[in-house]
């Protein structure tokens, strides 16, 4: 176990360095940051700023400096807001996390019962309907789903606000959009992990004992399907964050995703870098926790 943990932590560190390297590369890809910072300044001033920022140093030195600052949460000041980029991101993190957690909750509420039922009734009408809906859901662009929901609930029926994040009513549509984006995928996972255990010997034994179908499913099948389910659901969180970027833009939700998109349009790269780095860190730490938990909870592995 200790050996596994050590190896896993080493991998975590390597991945973190990789993530900061990729984040560093975003600014490099944009060309000359000084031109972005002061587009109208005379060349002499720009050269001075370049010198001051150390842009003449070798890339490796620049990267080292970037990574060192990133560790302390210093991504420089926003070109646009004249405030530390990191602070701007941290401020908006709770909104994004609330949206994703709510959406994940909604997706689970849909996916769990439907997925289980569809696995139990494999090949029947219910299952085929569910599988068809999954296909439809996975082919729908989430930003379009969001606009269609706005058309129905905000424009046609005037029940909910078109955008914003200031009341409970305004939370509903974004959650619905992101939830329906995630639900098909979760449903697929629930269905397949249930199918994997449902025909195993011990489930058959439970049935043979005369237990009711309901008890067999809940106590025996679901319990064993739960572990892979939790892992895969945890690993899907990254996908959810990707969907959150789009959802926040559609509904003007003041979260990290919208901050990044706006910053990209303004070529405000410190904010972009801070945002990308932080979102990646959420995914990385979640993956780490899921990985460790999995080994901890499943006695069959961990000795590897």
């Amino acid at each position: 176990m200790t050996k596994f943990l050590v190896r896993r932590v080493v991998r975590l560190v390597v991945v973190c360095v990789g993530v900061s390297l990729v984040t560093f590369a975003i600014l490099q890809a944009s060309g000359d940051p000084v031109t972005l910072m002061m587009p109208e300044a005379p060349e002499a001033d720009r050269a001075m700023l370049r010198q001051a920022l150390g842009l003449h140093d070798p890339l490796l030195v620049q990267f080292g400096r970037f990574a060192g600052r990133a560790l302390t949460g210093d991504f420089g000041n926003s070109f646009f807001h004249r405030a530390p980029a990191f602070g701007l991101v941290v401020e908006r993190m709770p909104t994004t996390l609330t949206l994703t957690v709510l959406a994940m909750g909604l997706a689970l509420v849909i996916a769990l019962p439907v997925g289980i039922y569809s696995a139990v009734r494999r090949g029947r009408a219910v299952d085929q309907l569910a599988t068809g809906t999954v296909f439809l859901g996975q082919s729908m662009p989430p930003f379009w789903t969001g606009i269609m929901l706005i058309l129905l609930f905000a424009v046609q029926w005037r029940l909910l606000p078109v955008s914003g994040w200031d009341s409970w009513a305004s939370v509903i549509l974004p959650t619905l959009t992101l939830g329906t984006f995630t639900a098909p995928l979760l449903l697929r996972i629930v269905r397949s992990s249930m199918l994997e255990v449902i025909n195993l010997d011990y489930v058959r034994t439970a049935r043979a004992k005369g237990l009711s179908e309901w008890l067999v499913i809940c106590r025996h099948a679901l319990k064993n399907a739960a572990l892979p389910l939790v892992t895969v659901t945890g690993l899907q969180f990254g996908l959810l964050l990707g969907g959150a970027i789009i959802t926040e833009t559609v509904f003007a939700v003041p979260g990290v995703g919208r901050l990044i998109v706006t910053a990209l349009r303004q070529l405000d790269f410190p904010v972009v870098q801070a945002g990308v780095f932080m979102l990646a860190m959420v995914v990385v730490s979640l993956n780490f926790v899921v990985d460790v938990l999995y080994v901890y909870l499943d006695p069959r592995i961990g000795l590897r």
């Binding site: 600014l27 729908m140 930003f143 058309l151 996908l239 998109v261 990209l264 349009r265 979102l279 995914v283």
Partner: protein, 301 residues
């Protein structure tokens, strides 16, 4: 003499088998109604994209302020010359959608090609050479998977300057890991197989073993993955266009049209609805075909 002629025999055998397997897959595909519907939709979309300048009723860029916000033909105030209505500067929605099909398909297919080339090459290398190279490549895969999908594409397209080529390359370079993983796994499994061992014992070079013996065996997984990736890339391109880092304003794209529809959502519902349906139909068709293709190609099912 006998040893020298052996590889030719294997090749001839492979050639004989390939069309037979192809027709079996085809028969299985055409037996599935979903796959047929999917293929029909795809033929329509592909035909539309190819023939766009000839079948579009209007020039997609022609503006007319007199005709702005014309609703679809079946609603009050509709004009038969503009079956799906016009946008805020009077451009024909249908014509713009027809032209938009070109961008979607072009980006989808080319991004997939880039990913396949990068992913298959790296997967083969990683599996066959193994060792340190394998560790490095798999760490890169780990790192790319740490970013929410779309986020990297979004940042790099914006940083490099939005253009069609940038989008294709960035989507291509952010979608290769799945191929690398699958091909690597297959290579690792195949490497131990007797026929590869035999080929090696006969003194056949690594590259030739890869090309003749290993690559054809990974073919069906790659076909399925690449079909599904075209759908992913079409969705991603639309999302990038929607978020404003698309291929620019020179050519209409479905994602861009939906973004416009967002701005006028309370005035003109048709602006966002129809391009979205076009994306939905195309992506659904590809997903259906890809899924049935997986069933048809996998002899275990």
């Amino acid at each position: 003499m006998a040893v020298g002629s052996l590889p030719t025999v294997t090749l001839a055998y492979a050639e004989e088998v390939a069309p037979a397997a192809g027709s079996r897959v085809w028969r299985k595909l055409t037996r599935s109604p979903a796959a047929i519907v999917g293929m029909l939709i795809l033929i329509v979309v592909l035909g539309t994209a190819l023939a766009a300048p000839w079948i579009a009723p209007h020039d997609p860029a022609t503006q007319s302020l007199l005709r702005r916000f014309t609703p679809p033909v079946w609603t009050a105030g509709g004009n038969p010359a503009y079956p799906l209505g016009t946008d805020q500067v009077g451009r024909d929605i249908l014509s713009r959608m027809i032209h938009g099909a070109r961008i979607s398909l072009l980006v989808g297919v080319l991004a997939m090609v880039v990913s396949v080339l990068v992913g298959v090459t790296l997967g083969l290398l990683s599996g066959f050479v193994g060792g340190r190279l394998d560790t490095v490549l798999m760490t890169i895969v780990d790192i790319t998977w740490s970013f929410p999908p779309l986020l990297l594409a979004l940042a790099f397209v914006a940083a490099l300057g939005p253009s069609l080529l940038t989008i294709i390359l960035v989507l291509g370079f952010t979608g290769w890991e799945r191929y690398a993983r699958v091909v690597r796994a297959e290579v690792l499994a195949l490497r131990e197989k007797d026929f590869v061992e035999a080929a090696r014992a006969m003194g056949i070079g690594s590259l030739r073993i890869l090309r003749v013996h290993v690559l054809p065996n990974t073919f069906s997984s790659i076909v399925v993955l690449s079909t599904l990736q075209v759908a992913q890339a079409i969705l991603a391109e639309a999302a990038l266009s929607f978020l404003g880092v698309g291929s620019g304003r020179t050519y209409p794209t479905w994602g861009q049209m939906i973004a416009l529809g967002r701005d006028f959502v309370s005035v003109a519902w048709w602006l966002a609805t129809f391009p979205g349906l076009a994306i939905l139909a195309t992506v659904l068709a590809i997903n259906l075909v890809g899924d049935r293709l997986r069933d048809a190609l996998d002899p275990r099912i």
